[in-house]
């Protein structure tokens, strides 16, 4: 357990080091906090089995490493109310520096070009398929959440997943459906932090529906049909296009937006065919031909 999850601000306040590059700094901080935890864990282990409350106390993890913030860089000096109008308020220099120091997203490194030529790679597709399948009980199931979620509300989910994002090696997938409240109603999170190490494996013979490899084409060159249900996957570009889709599944023509104009969905998978004929329709056999 990395205890810093409980108070993400503190290490940044404690360890300003302008010489390190941004990624290095984060690694250092993570290491420092890991070490802090290890040290605590060591003493806890030696103690009478009565460890101190952790993650909830208000004291710093390591005595002596908690430096007061440097007024010049981090904190705007307190002023009287009468002076407020004359003092530049707002984010401090250090605060403003943080986003700049974060690793650049792939998008920033190389702006997304809607009209770039795309040649989907089979091996990428296989890899993407594998990752996708590993997060679903069957094709069409809402994916489970691959990262920690703690006291998170819907807004936090949307901040990354509404349009998706990339940062270094990580990719937040784009929501394939519209706004729905209560994300965790459908997407199961990983175990709560205190119970991460508990074996949660189950023994099951359930074999879920596999994801289709590709849609069928009426003839070579014809637009493929959509091999999966469109329900909850209204946004085709979530996976098949845009800067944050799945590698190997990209559309070669992402500028075209009316996908179903050419790609036929499946009425069966989409529950589009009513169980019974609609009463308002004439039966086909007795058509109104004259």
């Amino acid at each position: 357990m990395n205890e810093t999850g409980q108070r993400p601000v503190e290490p940044i306040v404690g360890e300003p080091d302008s010489e390190l590059d941004s990624a290095g700094r984060i690694t250092t901080l993570a290491l420092a906090s890991l070490m802090a935890f290890a040290v605590i864990g060591y003493f806890v282990g030696l103690a009478d089995g009565v460890p101190q409350p952790s993650g909830i106390d208000s004291e710093p993890l390591l005595k002596g490493t908690h430096h007061p913030a440097k007024a010049d860089s981090k904190v705007v000096a307190a002023v009287t109310y009468s002076e407020i109008s004359n003092v530049p308020m707002g984010p401090s220099v250090a605060w403003q520096a943080i986003p700049k120091s974060l690793p650049k997203s792939a998008h920033e490194v190389q702006p997304y070009d809607l009209f770039a030529e795309i040649k989907p790679s089979e091996s990428d597709k296989e890899k993407s398929n594998f990752v996708r399948a590993s997060r679903r009980a069957f094709n069409g199931a809402p994916p489970v959440i691959p990262h920690t979620v703690e006291n998170t509300n819907d807004a936090a989910c949307y901040s990354c997943h509404s349009n998706g994002m990339r940062m270094e090696g990580l990719k937040a997938s784009v929501m394939s459906h519209g706004f729905l409240a209560n994300c965790l109603q459908c997407h199961a999170p990983p175990p709560p932090k205190p119970f991460e190490k508990i074996d949660s494996s189950v023994r099951s013979r359930f074999v879920g529906l596999q994801a289709p490899k590709a849609g069928e084409r009426a003839f070579p060159g014809a637009p493929p049909t959509i091999p999966h249900s469109q329900w909850m996957r209204e946004n085709c570009h979530a996976c098949h296009g845009g800067p944050n889709g799945w590698a190997g599944m990209e559309s070669s023509h992402p500028w075209r937006t009316n996908c179903t104009q050419c790609h036929a969905p499946s009425a069966t998978l989409d529950q589009a065919i009513p169980a019974q004929g609609l009463s308002m329709l004439p039966p086909i056999e007795n058509s109104t031909r004259e």
Binding site: E216, R217, A218, F219, P220, A222, T225, A264, M280, L281, P282, I284, S287, T288, R289, E290
Partner: protein
């Protein structure tokens, strides 16, 4: 041999376009369905793509029709078709289309 579900929109209520409706009904490839207000649902079951194209053009030319909307397209099974030889021409002979609405 496409099957498509189309929605024809007239510039006035369907009831005021009897001649066009009669023309529609006389076309064997067209099945006329429910009509409501100035819209009518039809199914086109054509024998070939070119035939389909001809019907489409005829529908658009039908007096009073302001738009033809596609609600449904049925594709056919690739396996059941002879392989295409790279030609974009439809192999099947052209079919005569009734002179819809053109008296």
């Amino acid at each position: 041999m496409p099957i498509s579900g189309l929605v024809l929109t007239f510039d006035d209520t369907v009831a005021n376009h009897r001649e066009s409706m009669a023309a529609l009904r006389s076309e064997p490839a067209v099945t006329v369905g429910v009509a409501s207000g100035n819209r009518v649902a039809i199914v086109v079951d054509s024998q070939s793509k070119s035939h389909d194209q001809q019907i489409w053009e005829a529908l658009r030319a039908l007096p009073g029709v302001v738009s033809v909307g596609v609600a449904f397209v049925g594709m056919e099974d690739a396996a059941e078709q002879p392989p295409y030889a790279g030609s974009h021409e439809d192999a099947s002979p052209p079919h005569e289309v009734h002179n819809l609405g053109k008296k």
